[in-house]
C-alpha cells in the first residue's frame, strides 16, 4: 500500500464512522485533510467515493465534511473536489429527502460566495463548478414541481440553513454558514466586516454562553473564535481567582492565576498569528472537558440540579459558563477540602456544601453546570513560553484582500512580543525579567514546582514514595494521551503522527480488517491449548503493528521446528481442501494462525502437491532418505502463535 493510500484509508475509516452531523468528527476529518494536503488527491477521491456509496441519510454529513474542507483548507482540495462536483452532487441530491435537498442547495449557494469572514473575495468554488449544478437544479425543480425551489433565505442571512432551527437569542456565526471557517482567521480589516473600534466585534459571542438550547444536531466544525477564547480564559481566571481566594496560601493556584493573567495580557495586547491562537484554543480544549462539553450542556438541557446554585456564580453573575474551580479545589486537595464532605456528594461549592443533604444517597448525575472550560494546567504555561519567541516575521498591516495572512487591527508595535514574554515569564516565575526568548525555549516553563521537568525526563522525577504518590501532576497525566495523538477509533489504541506511528497504525488497521473477516466467524473456533514453559520463555509476542519480518530475523531464538509445529495455509483448491491425509486418512483441522494471519492446517506439510500430517510424514519417511520439507518461509512469517493439540494425544506424538 502506498503511503498516500494509507492516509486515504485512515481518512476513509474516520469517514465511515460519520453518521450524523457531528461537529467534532467533521473537524477531525478536516484536520486530517489539512495535515495531509500532499495526499489531497487520494483523500478527495475517498471522500467522493464515500458520498457516492454511503447510505442516503449519511450523505449530508459527508457533504458537510467536503464543505468544511474546501472552506477551511481550500486548495488543492477545491481543485480535486471541484472536478467531479457535478456528478457527486447530483447523485446525492437525487437520493436525498426534501430536507436534505434544501440543505444541499444552501451548501451550493454558500459555495458561490467567498469563505465567510475571509479576506479572499473569490468564491469557494469557481463558477465553472457551481454553474452546472445550478442548471441541473433548476431543471430538476422544473421536472418536480411538487418540490418547488425553497425560498432563498432573506438577504441578511444569506447562508442560513433552514434545516436547522434558528437559535433564539444571539445568532451564532456558525449557523450562518454551512460549515464555519476554521483555518482562515477572520480578517478584521476586510472592509466587508462591520468592524467596530474593538477588534473582535464582528464575531458573535461564543456558543458557550449562549443561553438558549440549540438543535440536537451538532454544528459541523469549529473556528478559532477570539471572543470565545477570551471568554474561556476570563472564566478560568475567575475560577482561579475564586480558588485563590479560598486558599490564598496555595502556591499552585497562585502560579496558575499568574499564568492565566499572562495569557490574558498577551491575548489582549498582541496580535497573535493564527496558528498560535489555534494552539491556545487547542490547548484549552485539550485540557478541558472536550470542546463539546459545553455544547452538551446547551444541547441537552439537563434536569435542574438538585442543589443550590454553585457558589462561583455569585462571583460571576455575568456568565453561565461552568465552573472548573471545583476541579481545581479537588486537585489541590485530593483528599478532600474542609467543605467537601464526601467524594460523591455533588456539593463541592463553598456556598452550598454546608447545605448539602447528607441523606441524599441516590446515584446522581452531576449538575451539568459543572462541565465546563478547562482547568488551566502548567502545560499551558509551557506552551505560552513558546509564544514568547519573537515571531519569524513580525505581524504586518496587510489589508490587501487577496492575502490570506492573518492580520490584526491592533498589531501594536509599541508592545513588542519579546517584552510580553518577559512580562509573562515574570508572572509565571515570580522572577525578575532576565530570560531571553531563547532561554525560554530551552526550558519550558511549568508553574507547578514539583513537576518542573521537560518531557524527556518527566518520568524520572516522579519519586516513588508514599507521599509522592499523593501529589497531583496533572500536566504529566495528559501526556498519556497527548504523546500519542493518533487514535485508532476501532479499539482505542494510540499511535503517534510520526512516519513510524502512521505506518504502525496502517498495519494495525489492516489487522483489524483481517480479523473482521466474516468467513472466519462461520468456521467453528475453539480455545487453544496453552503453550508450555519452554515455549513461553522463548515466545515473542505478536505485534500487529510491526512488519511481518521484524520479529522473524532472530536466528539465535529460532528453535528447531518440530513436526507438529509445521503448517500450511488451508488450500484454495477445493479438492485439495477436502482431501484427508493420505497416510492416516484423517481430515485436517484448520485453525486461525495469528502469525500467518490466515487459516492454516497445523501439523501439515506439502510434498509433491499433496498435503500430509507432518507427524505422519515424518514417521513414514523416517529411515528413508527423504527429508521432510520445512514450512516455507513465506508462510512462516513469524513464530507460530497457535498450539497444536498434538503432543497431548494418547498416541503420544511428542510426549
Amino acid at each position: 500500500m502506498s503511503y498516500s493510500a494509507e492516509v486515504a484509508a485512515d481518512f476513509r475509516d474516520a469517514l465511515q464512522d460519520l453518521k450524523a452531523n457531528k461537529r467534532l468528527e467533521i473537524s477531525i476529518l478536516t484536520g486530517i485533510a489539512k495535515d495531509n494536503t500532499e495526499h489531497a488527491q487520494a483523500i478527495s477521491e475517498e471522500l467522493e467515493k464515500h458520498i457516492k456509496t454511503t447510505r442516503p441519510e449519511w450523505k449530508l454529513p459527508a457533504l458537510y465534511v467536503l464543505d468544511s474542507i474546501v472552506k477551511n483548507v481550500g486548495t488543492p482540495y477545491t481543485v480535486y473536489l471541484g472536478r467531479n462536483m457535478f456528478p457527486t452532487f447530483m447523485a446525492a441530491f437525487q437520493l436525498a429527502d426534501e430536507e436534505t435537498r434544501t440543505a444541499m442547495e444552501n451548501l451550493l449557494h454558500s459555495w458561490k460566495q467567498p469563505v465567510p469572514d475571509s479576506i479572499d473575495a473569490r468564491p469557494v468554488f469557481p463558477s465553472s463548478v457551481t454553474q452546472d449544478i445550478e442548471k441541473f437544479l433548476i431543471r430538476f425543480r422544473a421536472i418536480n414541481p411538487q418540490n418547488p425551489l425553497p425560498q432563498r433565505p432573506p438577504q441578511g442571512l444569506p447562508r442560513s440553513l433552514p434545516a436547522r432551527p434558528p437559535t433564539q437569542g444571539q445568532m451564532n456565526p456558525w449557523n450562518r454558514t454551512a460549515t464555519p471557517p476554521q483555518g482562515r482567521f477572520p480578517a478584521p480589516n476586510d472592509p466587508r466586516n462591520r468592524t467596530g473600534p474593538t477588534y473582535p466585534a464582528a464575531i458573535s459571542p461564543p456558543i458557550a454562553i449562549q443561553p438558549a438550547p440549540v438543535a440536537q444536531q451538532a454544528l459541523p466544525t469549529q473556528t478559532v473564535d477570539f471572543n470565545r477564547l477570551m471568554a474561556d480564559v476570563n472564566q478560568l481566571l475567575l475560577n482561579c481567582q475564586t480558588a485563590h481566594a479560598l486558599v490564598p496560601t496555595d502556591v499552585d493556584t497562585k502560579e496558575k492565576l499568574d499564568a492565566l493573567k499572562g495569557l490574558k495580557g498577551i491575548l489582549e495586547s498582541h496580535s497573535l498569528p493564527l496558528h498560535q491562537l489555534q494552539k491556545i484554543r487547542e490547548q484549552i480544549d485539550n485540557m478541558a472537558p472536550p470542546p463539546t462539553a459545553q455544547q452538551v450542556f446547551i444541547n441537552n438541557p439537563p434536569p435542574a440540579p438538585p442543589f443550590a446554585i454553585p457558589a462561583f456564580q455569585q462571583f460571576a453573575p455575568a456568565t453561565s459558563t461552568p465552573d472548573p474551580a471545583l476541579n481545581l479545589t479537588q486537585i489541590l486537595f485530593p483528599n478532600g477540602v474542609p467543605w467537601t464532605t464526601t467524594p460523591m456528594a455533588p456539593t463541592p461549592s463553598l456556598a452550598t456544601a454546608p447545605l448539602a443533604n447528607p441523606a441524599a444517597p441516590a446515584p446522581f448525575t452531576p449538575p451539568p453546570q459543572l462541565s465546563g472550560p478547562p482547568l488551566i494546567t502548567p502545560s499551558l504555561a509551557q506552551m505560552l513560553a513558546q509564544f514568547c519567541q519573537p515571531p519569524a516575521t513580525p505581524p504586518v498591516m496587510a489589508p490587501t484582500p487577496a492575502s490570506h495572512a492573518p492580520v490584526m487591527p491592533h498589531a501594536a508595535p509599541s508592545a513588542p512580543v519579546a517584552g510580553s514574554a518577559e512580562w509573562l515569564l515574570n508572572a509565571l516565575k515570580g522572577l525578575p525579567p532576565t530570560g531571553t526568548p531563547s532561554s525560554v525555549q530551552a526550558t519550558p516553563l511549568s508553574s507547578e514546582p514539583m513537576t518542573r521537568q521537560t518531557s524527556a525526563t518527566a518520568n524520572a522525577e516522579v519519586e516513588l514514595s508514599s507521599a509522592s504518590m499523593k501529589r497531583p501532576r496533572l500536566n504529566l497525566y495528559t501526556k498519556l494521551y497527548d504523546a500519542y495523538p493518533n487514535l485508532c477509533r476501532t479499539c482505542g489504541r494510540r499511535f503517534t503522527f510520526t512516519t513510524e506511528g502512521k505506518e504502525k497504525k496502517a498495519r494495525h488497521m489492516d489487522w483489524h480488517f483481517k480479523v473482521k473477516d466474516p468467513d472466519a466467524a462461520k468456521r467453528g473456533t475453539h480455545r487453544s491449548w496453552y503453550i508450555d514453559e519452554k515455549e513461553w520463555v522463548k515466545y515473542d509476542e505478536v505485534d500487529e503493528t510491526l512488519p511481518e519480518q521484524a520479529s522473524n530475523g532472530d536466528g539465535a531464538k529460532a528453535v528447531k521446528k518440530e513436526a507438529k509445529d509445521k503448517y500450511v495455509p488451508v488450500p484454495q483448491d477445493v479438492a485439495l481442501s477436502q482431501a484427508p491425509c493420505p497416510i492416516c486418512q484423517e481430515k485436517f483441522e484448520h485453525q486461525w494462525n495469528v502469525d500467518a494471519n490466515e487459516f492454516v492446517w497445523m501439523d501439515a506439510v506439502k510434498v509433491n502437491g499433496k498435503i500430509y500430517h507432518a507427524t505422519c510424514w515424518e514417521e513414514y519417511s523416517r529411515g528413508s532418505t527423504l527429508a521432510a520439507p520445512s514450512t516455507p518461509d513465506s508462510v512462516l512469517g513469524k513464530r507460530k502463535a497457535e498450539v497444536s493439540p498434538a503432543g497431548l494425544g494418547k498416541k503420544g506424538r511428542v510426549n
Partner: protein, 459 residues
Amino acid sequence: MMNLPGLNLATPVADAPPIAVVEKHEHNLRIYTEYRFEVSFARTLTIKLLEGTAEYFGTELAPTQTYSFSGTKGAIFTWHGCRLEVSGEAESEYVAEETGMVAYANAHLALEGLRDRGGLEGGPRVLVVGPENAGKTSLCKILTAYAVKVGRQPMMVNLDPRQGMLSVPGSLSTAAFSSILDVEEGWGSSPISGPSPIPVKMPLVYHYGLANPEEGKVFKPLVTRMALAVISRLEEEPLSKSVGFVIDTPGSISAGKGGVYDNIEHIVSEFSINVVFVLGSERLYSDLSRKYQNRPTDEAVNVVRLDKSGGCVDRDEAYMKQFRQAQIRAYFFGSDKENGLAPHSQTSDFGDLNIFRIAEDSSNAYGHDEDDMYSRPSGIYEKTIPTLSIQNSLLAVTTASPADRQEVIRDASVRGYVYVSDVDETKKKVRLLLPQPGQTPANAMILGSFPEDVPGLVS
C-alpha cells in the same frame, strides 16, 4: 467514604431488587471524575463514549465501540471530561468526584522513571499486596494498561487463585501484554483457533487447585517455579526486562499471622521484588516497611503505600461464585465477543484418564501422621480413578506424564482444562468437555477442590 448509604454496600443480589436503569441516558463527566457502576450477571449495561476521552481501569474506550458489561463492578474515568451514553440495567451507578486515579497514575509515572533508568538491572519488579477488595487487581490493570499505552510490553503475574487471569480460577498465571487489555473481558482472552477482535494474550498457566494460598503446600513451590519462568523470559527478552513485571496477589497472604507474612516474603525473595505497593492497610504497610527498611542497596525493597479507592466494592461469596463460573464458561464457550467457542465433547474410558487429586491433608503432612502413606512429604496428590464425585469438576491438564514424580507434576505448567460432564461408573466411561477436538490427553491431570463444581456447564 465507603459507608455512604445505599451506594456501594454489597447487598445480596437476591434480596435487593436491582435499581433498574432501563432508559438510555447520558452522563457528562467532568475532568478527573469517574462513572461507577455495578451490573449483575443476569443483566447487561452498555456504555458508549460520545465525546471526550474515557478509560476503564486504564484502557481507553474507543469512540466507535459500544461496550457491554455484565457481572461487573467497575468505573469509567476521564482525564479530559467526557460524555457517555449508558443503557441497560445497573444495580447502582453514580459519578464520583474523588477517585484514586491521581495516585495510580503517579505510580505508573514513578515506575516509568525506574524503567528509563533501569539499565542492566532491568525494570521494576513490583508486588501489589493488601486485603481483599482493596483494589489490587484494579491497580494491576491500570499499571499494565498504562505501560501498554506508552508502548511498553509489561508482564503480569497473577498469584491469586480466587480470580483467574487469562484462565480459570484456581490457576496461577503470567503473561506479557503487547496489546491493549480487553475492556469487557477483564484481562482479555488466551489464544483461540480463530481471529479475535482484541489481540489474544499468551499466558503461562499453573494449577493451584485450592482457594487459599495459606492452605496446602503447593503455593510456595509454584511461586518458585513461576519466578523461574518469568525471570528466564526476562533474560531472553531485553525489552521485557527493561519493563519488569507486576504481581497481583490474594488478600489472604496480607493477613499476616502474628506479624509474619510468610508468603509475601517468599514472593519477594523468589521474584527479587524491589517495589511493593501496599493498598488499603496501614498496618500491613508499617509491618512491611519495617521489615524491609534496612536492606543492602542492591536488595532494597521500596515499600509504598497507596490509598484504597473509594470505588472499591466488597464482593460477597455469592458474587465471587458467579464470577468463577462465568470465567470457566468463558474458557470453554468464549465470551460473546469471541462469537462463541465450540468446545469438543467426547467419551473416554476410565483407563484413559490419569487423575491426581490434591491430597486432603497435605498441609499437615509434615510432622503429624508420619505413618499415613498419603502423608509422606511426596504425598502431594492421590492418584484417583473416576467416580461420580468428580462429575462437574474441572481437571487441569498438565504437561507432565503420569509416570513423573509428584513434584514434577506439581511444577508442571498446564496445557488447559477439561470438564467432566458425566461419569458412568458401571460402563467405566466419562464424558469430557475438551476445549478443542483431539484425543483425550494422556498427561497427568490435577483435580483440586477449587474451583468448586460447575453444575450444568453442559446441558
